[in-house]
């Protein structure tokens, strides 16, 4: 976490005339004046049709940088591509990227050639720059303009280590996305998952991490022991996951900084299905004793666990509401898997799923408004419902889609899809409309995604 982010209050190196427009006018929710453009946060289909031009980021001087072996000019094009791909692959807006657009000059970043961009049909324009500074640090600026109004809508800048240059691009994507959609940011975040290789009956499963767009991929475990079901801690310093390290399934807490790991609780019983509380202070886990599985909570620092459920069936998993006051979990106490909600101390357990089929792997949205889960009626499909169990809505329709995990802003879920026959697994994501579904790039097979919050 060497990254340092600072909002640049002053961009004094930029062209002086632009500074006259430094005060960003309060952005109107509807900026259209002649019927061509409407930006409203509630109608997704409208703002998703928005044309956005994202040319290469400019640089004040093309100099060497550890972030790109061709220098800061080439890095500027890469920054533009990352922003373009973020917005494009998520089905947000209709972006045009650096490879099909002219490159603005450095002074134009704060004084765009609006007429030129208007002629290209762009309604919104993203401009940015990258500047190498002391110690190799990079300063990246990001500007969003309304082409028709010839107005700056928002700007921000960040100082990053060269290795974190992609984070600056994701921050720019977040800035644009948030300003135009009214939603919270999510691009600058990471995903922990399980990388899968080998045949179906001898699958090797390794803990792996990557950025939300699949970049900066890294394997964490070597694959000697089967690893399953990781979860990032909210501060990204730890990953809790299941490993067969000693031959039995046990939950370990892996410290990313040191590479050390330890058991979440000392017990000769099986522990699995680990989860963090939103504040990172508590870990939920499930433990099987003589075939009976119940849910426990324990301080992330260790100590005496508290048993939350006591049914003779399988009570398993669990996901905290964003305020940490309630937990949604699954139980087969009624005869098959259904979703239940209880208070965080285990009291007031109530079934919420009554729509037929089975309700599994419930995950509470970070926004609190929805619960994503796996609905099993023969096939496994990703669906959402409200926290009372109403409003069932499918997001996917495939043979086996499992284990949704929420984007930090609660507008997108990732999940994994298993192919019939081969059992090949891959990561996918879909937005809440269910229309924008795409596969995430992973070097090998992949399952059990766990999306972390926006990076600190």
């Amino acid at each position: 976490m060497s990254l340092r982010i600072a909002v640049l209050l002053s961009l004094s190196l930029l062209a002086a005339p632009a500074m006259a427009q430094d005060i960003v006018p309060p952005p109107p929710d509807v900026v259209d004046t002649d019927g061509g453009l409407e930006v409203t946060v509630t109608d997704e289909s409208a703002w998703q049709d928005l044309g956005i031009a994202i040319p290469a980021f400019a640089t004040n001087a093309d100099v060497a940088t550890p972030a790109n072996n061709q220098g800061t000019a080439a890095l500027g094009a890469e920054l533009g591509r990352v922003v373009y791909n973020d917005l494009k692959f998520n089905g947000l807006f209709k972006p045009t990227g650096p490879d099909s657009l002219p490159r603005p000059t450095y002074p134009q970043i704060t004084a765009p050639a609006f007429n030129q961009w208007g002629g290209r049909g762009a309604e919104m324009l993203v401009h940015g720059y990258v500047r190498a500074g002391e110690g190799g640090k990079l300063t990246v600026g990001c500007y969003l303009y309304d082409v028709q109004l010839q107005n700056e809508l928002v700007r921000a800048g960040w100082v990053v280590e060269p290795a974190d240059w992609r984070r600056a691009a994701h921050k720019c994507s977040d800035l644009v996305y948030s300003r135009l959609s009214g939603e919270s940011p999510f691009f600058d975040s990471r995903v922990a998952y399980i990388a899968e290789t080998g045949p179906k009956d001898h699958r090797v499963k390794r803990l792996a991490i990557m950025d939300s767009d699949g970049a900066n991929h890294r394997f964490i475990t070597a694959g000697n022991a089967t690893a399953l079901t990781p979860r990032y801690s909210p501060d990204y310093k730890k990953i809790v996951y299941l490993s067969y390290l000693d031959g039995n399934p046990r939950i370990f807490v892996y410290e990313i900084g040191t590479g050390q790991q330890h058991l979440v609780t000392q017990s000769k019983n099986v522990t699995f299905a680990p989860r963090w509380s939103p504040d990172g202070k508590t870990i939920l886990y499930s433990m099987a004793i003589a075939g009976n599985t119940d849910i426990y909570r324990v301080s992330a620092q260790g100590g005496q666990p508290t048993k939350l459920t006591d049914s003779p069936g399988i009570d398993i998993g669990g996901s905290f509401s964003p305020d940490g006051s309630r937990i949604v979990f699954e139980s087969d106490r009624s005869g098959n898997q259904q979703c239940y909600v209880m208070n965080a101390d285990g009291s007031n357990q109530k079934r919420i799923s009554f729509f037929g089929g089975r309700c599994a792997t419930p995950e509470w949205s970070p926004r609190g408004d929805l619960i994503a889960f796996t609905h099993i009626v023969g096939d496994l499909r990703v669906a959402v419902m409200n926290p009372s169990g109403g409003g069932l809505r499918y997001l996917t329709n495939s043979w086996q889609d499992e284990a949704p995990t929420w984007a930090p802003n609660g507008r997108i879920v990732q999940f994994f899809r298993t192919a019939k026959g081969s059992g090949q697994a891959s990561l996918w994501q879909v937005d809440l409309t269910g229309r924008n579904e795409r596969r995430l790039p992973t070097p090998v097979g992949a399952s059990d995604p766990a999306w972390g919050p926006v990076l600190p």
């Binding site: 075939g291 087969d332 284990a403």
Partner: protein, 167 residues
């Protein structure tokens, strides 16, 4: 406590024994009418080893379950009885029961289900006089399928509990 659990499980198994159970089409051979005498086991494998156990059991080291179920039916009882006899013959060997589920469930629930199935087998063995201290359990959920297809026949073969001798 374990004794109570065993009793309940056995009672449940007896009640449910009459239920129809969809058997895998490629079931292991039916149990021999008379259990082969372990002492007359096949050549090559030393008595009391996993290899010897597997040969003597001739498929009866594995029991099968219906979807989402973990009850011990009459076919399972016959297999577990043979296993218990073997374990009585070699009182110094220890065993582990591996519980498995088919691929048509969610990962974590299947881990719990495999654990429950392995314990059902363990409890039945205990009810036949095998000391629970000699039997450990491990669940693999849906992680270690035996049959590789994605069809009812393959799933039936994968919903299983397998007893392994620890050498």
């Amino acid at each position: 406590m374990k004794h109570i659990v065993s009793t309940v499980t056995v009672a449940t198994a007896l009640v449910l024994a009459g239920c129809s159970k969809k058997a895998p089409e490629e079931l292991p051979p039916p149990p021999a009418t008379s259990t082969p005498a372990p002492t007359a086991g096949p050549e090559g494998a030393a008595p009391g080893t996993q290899a010897h156990f597997a040969q003597v059991m001739n498929g009866q080291d594995t029991i099968y379950f219906d979807t989402d179920r973990y009850n011990i039916d009459s076919a399972d009882q016959a297999a577990l009885t043979q296993q218990a006899q073997y374990l009585a013959q070699y009182p110094n060997v220890r065993a582990t029961v591996e519980g498995h589920a088919d691929e048509r469930g969610t990962r974590e629930y299947n881990l719990a289900l495999g654990e429950r199935r392995a314990n059902a087998a363990k409890n039945y063995l205990a009810s036949l006089g095998v000391s629970p201290d000699r039997i450990s359990v491990v669940s693999y959920g849906k992680e270690r399928p035996k049959a590789l297809g994605s069809n009812e026949q393959a799933w039936a073969q994968n919903r299983r509990a397998v007893t392994i001798i620890l050498n």
